[in-house]
Point group: C2
Chain length 463, copies 2
């Protein structure tokens, strides 16, 4: 279709101006969680809409009950070209504690760390302004050379990602037809390491449950009643202990329905990443994998479901001692889901199991804390393969297809509300200090990120 090398050269030539543009955006204090910065959020949205318009997008700022969305459309040069939705967010985290910043968080700069390594400093350079601009600048380089784009691109920039995205679902629902594409490109993740590009293809889902076990109608003196009266902490701890067997498997009936083994080639590629139990767990003061036996830490955190107690409380928890038998005991429990595990079925199986352990004179209350299925991109989908090859070419190292232990709600929303898979490609590094003082983004990430997107755009255009 087109020749890529002039586009890449153009991206190189554009870099100084691209940095100026990024810095303009970083200077806008778009802290979404703090109402004091509402006008700054609006200003960032305006700035982005203007940028997109200047690039030839049909772009607009779209009001929501919270901070506005920015939506832009750019048709492909050929009518039957693929159509993608690109997502990023222009809002940033607060900057407290401000005294820990070495540079003004809203006065971005290029900092030379020696050995040829330069970083861009400032709040949002990595999360997510720098990342979203890699895609915008890739489009610019492409258009500069070819005057058009080889794929149809819809862009969605959100301004509430750092504050829970309250307006996102209603906006997707109200604008589903306009936003729907063949698949989404999400640039809000990271590389495996500074030399190894990565695509996240699996994200675990989540089921949250809070349970309260109720025994006597009041707290009891353990001397007077101990040994005869039900202790809800005993019931709760027994129930929790029974959730896992000796091999670390979850015992709930049907829990593993929809859980498939990770393909051998994917597991083999993970083996090459050098993420051992020792180094993964060593960083947090541990050394022994605690979940299902016989699996690597990457498999355990990316490709296996879990059940974790996130909180537990009951009885007297202050200083000293109180010989009380509590009337109630509670726990917050979450399940991470993979594959096609059904959140509702997991919840029901859990509740049935708990109910089966409650003595006749006690009771249990359940409180639901959200549910989302896992996201599992087919490891051999054409789009994934194209992006993988494009990234491998740019970084001169095979891109790795990884999982993510946590959830990224937008990806689930795109799937459930717009019927789209997402390709998660990003250029952040673990040490970018997103959400913390002294956030930075590697100049290399920014530069090669732009070039990577140019290659991906080119690759995706080829049916």
């Amino acid at each position: 279709m087109t020749d890529l090398s002039p586009v890449l050269s153009r991206a190189d030539e554009n870099l100084p101006a691209a940095l100026d543009r990024l810095f303009d955006l970083v200077r806008i204090k778009s802290i979404s969680t703090d109402p004091a910065y509402k006008a700054d959020c609006a200003k960032a949205a305006d700035w982005l809409a203007n940028e997109l318009t200047a690039l030839g997008f049909e772009a607009s700022v779209r009001p929501t009950p919270g901070h506005p969305m920015v939506v832009g459309h750019h048709a492909a040069s050929t009518p039957d070209a693929p159509h993608v939705l690109f997502y990023g967010h222009y809002d940033v985290q607060p900057v407290d504690p401000i005294e820990l910043w070495e540079n003004d968080p809203f006065d971005p700069a290029i900092k030379d760390l020696g050995n040829g390594r330069k970083v861009l400093t400032g709040r949002g350079t990595a999360d997510d302004k720098g990342q979203l601009m890699t895609f915008v600048e890739a489009c610019r380089a492409y258009k500069d050379v070819h005057g058009s784009l080889p794929i149809s691109v819809t862009i969605l920039f959100e301004g509430e990602e750092e504050s829970g995205s309250p307006s996102l679902k209603p906006f997707l629902e109200a604008n589903a037809e306009e936003l729907k594409a063949e698949f989404a490109l999400v640039c809000d993740t990271g590389m495996w390491d500074s030399n190894t590009p990565a695509i996240a293809a699996a994200l675990r889902g989540l089921v949250g449950e809070e349970i309260t076990i109720i025994a006597a109608d009041r707290d009891l003196h353990s001397g007077l009643y101990g040994g005869a009266a039900a202790n809800p902490i005993h019931i709760l701890t027994k129930a929790i202990a029974g959730l896992r067997d000796e091999t670390g498997r979850i015992t709930l009936p049907g829990f593993y329905d929809g859980v498939e083994e990770t393909p051998e080639n994917i597991k083999a590629s993970w083996e090459t990443l050098g993420r051992s139990s020792a180094n993964f767990l060593g960083e947090i003061g541990l050394s022994e994998p605690a979940g299902e036996k016989g699996r690597s830490v990457l498999e355990l955190t990316w490709a296996r479901p879990t059940c974790e107690v996130n909180g537990i409380w009951g009885g007297y928890t202050g200083d000293g001692f109180k010989t009380v038998i509590a009337a109630k005991a509670s726990a917050k429990i979450s399940f991470r889901l993979v594959g096609t595990q059904d959140p509702q079925k997991v919840r029901e199986s859990f509740r049935a199991y708990i109910r089966s352990l409650i003595p006749a004179d006690c009771s249990v209350e359940f409180h639901e804390h959200g549910a989302s299925p896992a996201i599992q991109l087919s490891y051999d989908s054409p789009a994934l393969t194209k992006a993988k090859n494009a990234l491998s070419d740019e970084w001169a190292k095979p891109a790795v297809v990884i999982g993510m232990g946590g959830s990224i709600p937008i990806v689930g929303d795109f799937q459930t509300m717009l019927g789209m898979d997402s390709l998660l490609v990003g250029f952040g590094l673990n040490d970018d200090r997103i959400h913390s003082p002294n956030e930075k983004y590697e100049l290399k990430s920014f530069h090669k990120g732009i070039r990577s997107w140019a290659r991906i755009i080119e690759a995706l255009a080829k049916r």
Copy 2:
């Protein structure tokens, strides 16, 4: 030796004056926990020492770093008579919330409830001023008639029972020779019901432990680490769950060493008390005995050891949900002991069990919260039998020998520091509202309590 009936008649005749004396004592606001009432506590001690002196005791107020003790001695009429130590406490609980009192807590009165039932109202009428005065008035009636006592009596009145008895152990240690007798009489407990006198012969001991299990060196994101990193709540709940088997027995090695079966005749007497699972547990909204299977609730709470979790906490326990894997999880756990169970061995067995469950990369911290052995009077000791018969005669109903689920520290102190068993005889009722507003003591308890002690003194005098 002596004839009892004139003593009992004298006790009846003395009753109005005995009530006046008790009311004088109740009017003294001897709230030991509140420093504002320090002078009142001293006044109560003086009042009691004067009373004892007037009765012919060699009595004195004995200073301590806290509130004073009162000690009195009265030799028996014959040199080889038995020698007992009588214990009571003159301090009382605070009266808040004062607005809930129907009468001034420090202006005692006789309240006629109809049907011939009269109660004495006011703070301390039951706990413990009314009770200790039953013994003093029994001595008075005896001396009024016979001019002497048939047993040697040492009296110890404490002024810090309601505030943790900080001065008691040092005082017992410093005055062991002076205070030591053949056995102690403690009047700070209750009847089985308003018609059935009781002697408490078994008190459970207590071992308190606090454990903290430490896993990672920080709280972790359960998405990133869940399934691979140790969760201390899982370790803790598994450990707690494993403390009991399916029959409710405690699984710790050696735990039941020193636990003997209750004699059949004692169990049979408990059966007659009409304390079923249904009524015992029904009062607190439960119905099923939760401890060791196949034992009555009285046996479970009086004569069997227990392990109860009194508090548990770890992770996120606030509103909403936080997908955290906590770095630490803690529990407060107590063991009630019976027979000759060794508190130290129980603690060591527990700690060894917990340590055996801690993964190599985690750790546990233990914190000790006190230890006291069980008190177990021989069910067929001569003193117990004499007191039982004396009570049965006075109340025209067999006295029942009961256990107590909780601990009474003074009894353990008498045993370990002075080598004395204690006979726990008291005339309180469950509805006396001790420690609460509107405390009362039955006039019948006071009157027949005096007569009961007169009978017991007489009975104990017979070798």
